[in-house]
Subunit: 206 residues, 2 copies
């Protein structure tokens, strides 16, 4: 391939269908790689190292932080989660577009460190559908629902900082549309500076 991959962060409301969207992209197209997180959480039954996560001891994880081997990391319920840099870099260099599925705080940290990162925010078509999905099937208690609504409200505060707002109404259409957005981004002038300079130099040489 003659082009470098794009680092993509997909975030979105819980219940927006991020996971299904990512799986759809991965299975339908060959140009994507999914970034596997490192974590200090213990593997659950059936989870394999290098499949769901790279499982690390706390010491190994701290070493990764100290040696700048993580693009971003966060602590959640006592465990660390992070994005290993090496895997992402090698996939980008081979031309793959690499997808990270992380929440907004991590997304903004990645964008700060790598301004070329493409930030996608996934939402259901409207807030009523969102509420239905947050409320769930009537099995959740009041507190859980309130907690989810609070979280969605917080998440909504940062949407403008994303590059694109992806409305997931029909999943199939959403997969194709997201793919088109990402492939279109490869043609952004700001991602083709060396190609532009090359054309310019050649023109001058004639």
């Amino acid at each position: 391939m003659d082009r470098k991959g794009i680092l993509i962060v997909i975030s979105g409301f819980s219940g927006a269908g991020k996971g299904t969207l990512v799986k759809g992209l991965m299975s339908r197209y060959t140009n994507y790689a999914f970034s596997i997180s490192a974590t200090t959480r213990k593997p659950r039954a059936g989870e394999e190292n290098g499949v769901e996560y790279f499982f690390k001891t706390r010491e190994e994880f701290m070493n990764m932080i100290d040696n700048n081997k993580l693009i971003e990391y966060a602590q959640y319920v006592g465990n660390f989660y992070g994005t290993p840099k090496e895997y992402v870099d090698s996939q980008l260099d081979s031309g793959k577009d690499v997808i990270l599925e992380i929440e907004i705080q991590g997304a903004l940290k990645v964008k700060e460190k790598f301004p070329d990162t493409l930030l996608l925010f996934v939402t259901p078509p409207n807030a009523t559908v969102l509420k239905q999905r947050l409320v769930g099937r009537g099995t959740e208690d009041f507190e859980t629902i309130q907690c989810r609504l609070r979280r969605a409200t917080q998440e909504a505060e940062g949407i403008e900082q994303y590059d694109y707002l992806i409305v997931n109404d029909d999943l199939d259409e959403c997969i194709v549309h997201t793919h088109n957005i990402i492939q279109g981004e490869h043609s952004r002038a700001s991602r083709n500076i060396s190609k532009i300079e090359q054309i310019r130099e050649e023109l001058k040489s004639f």
Copy 2:
């Protein structure tokens, strides 16, 4: 339609196939309107008012300038050419993406006045192909070729100010790719501020 159209400026090197690309977009998809320019140039045989151009007297054209009825205008070989605002606005309001085919100076003026304008620059796959097209079929004299190369060199100076660099290698692929870029742009967070605010307000009201 529940969305407003996008104003699109297509520029590019002479010989890049802009015109064919625009015709392809217009004939293959229903969401585009092509902006017809106003001009003080006399109609040529077969040209109809409102088809190739809106033909205006110099006085009429000056009135359009004075009454802010042109998005941009320029003088070229003694004649005025400009983009009538009313037609563009009405098409955008009806949800059509409106295409202007103008050169870089006009493109940058439009972007300054309407920052939401999408600027696309079309180029052949590389400078050798570009040179072949500029040099033509061997029928042009040295001066004409030099003039074309100079113009391309000037045009190349401004490419970074465009949003996308469209490489026209295979025309069919280029039409689809350009369409995908434009449709993807409709999902830009910056073009969906009111939708984002609406989701936010609804979430707060729950």
